[in-house]
Symmetry: C2
DNA sequence: TTTGGTGCAAAGACTTTGCAAAGGT
DNA sequence: ACCTTTGCAAAGTCTTTGCACCAAA
């Protein structure tokens, strides 16, 4: 049997509170896999939940520390959170529509470790994000959504 | 013959001003290859240069757009700039002392492109940073520098 | 009850911007 | 002289924190 969210929270030492349950549910519902604090806050507002933005930030950070969520920073200046399923992956971000694709490449992982070792280091973690455009914009089902800027309004492009 | 900085600036359409020349020199001198806006500002202060922090930010951004500098964001929340020598590389950041090592791995580059292509994208750019610790702290000549205090005393730690 | 969590507003860190004065060509 | 750039301070964006009140255990 799958443990309830309440149980899951308790096991991390966090008290089971409304804000924490609601926020966890939002991520589990999977409406949007990658969300900023503000994305979460907006959903809560829509749900008429009386939860402050500061609490959202606090809970997201706690969830990250508890291993429930994973934080990524891309180049947007905002932190993006997603459910941590234990399986590591990196991200490919579409510059046209903001869509985020997850990928895992064993060879890349291997080479990263090798690079660190060769330089006398012990690899602890890494952050890899690919920024790309749709190769076939005409047929891209997401391309039109560009105007709605799903992942962040700011056109703060990398590099 | 190597073009002067003044010529270089002119060729980008930027006027040749004291702040721009000074900042360009700082990067060329190579005292510190990777610098934040504040790092640059601190050097200018040391040099008794009367250049405002806002100007530093503006110039760094202009230089980035002109292709003179490259910006990286790592996970620090601050932008880090370095001279853009045209040769692409990624970064390995030491979690102990903050040292930044540059590396280039053709295979990683290749796989990144492949990943994007396989997902129907055209890779535009990427950001890859490895975070590692010294494998041999005792013999690491940089380890003691751990207390690398920037400028502003951002002494804010959780209670 | 006791401990920790929450909301709000204010503060903090980094960066950008408005505007009048100064500077480059 | 013209138009850009600068310095300063104020504003902006994302995030954290102080504190009084509230809720979970």
């Amino acid at each position: 049997m799958v443990p309830s969210n309440a149980q899951g929270l308790r096991s991390t030492g966090l008290k089971v509170t409304q804000p924490r349950l609601r926020i966890l549910e939002i991520f589990q519902k999977g409406v949007q896999r990658h969300m900023t604090a503000e994305d979460v806050y907006r959903v809560l507002l829509d749900e008429q939940q009386d939860i402050g933005l500061a609490t959202v930030y606090r809970v997201l950070t706690q969830f990250e520390q508890a291993g429930i969520l994973r934080r990524s920073n891309f180049e947007s200046g905002k932190s993006v959170f997603e459910i941590n399923e234990g399986t590591h992956h990196d991200h490919l971000v579409c510059l046209d529509c903001g869509r985020v694709v997850e990928f895992y490449d064993a060879e890349i992982e291997r080479r990263q470790k090798k690079v660190a070792t060769e330089h006398g280091f012990e690899l602890q973690e890494h952050s890899l994000a690919l920024y790309a455009t749709c190769a076939h914009k005409d047929s891209c089902p997401h391309y039109d959504k560009a105007a709605h800027a799903p992942l962040g309004t700011r056109a703060h492009h990398p590099g």
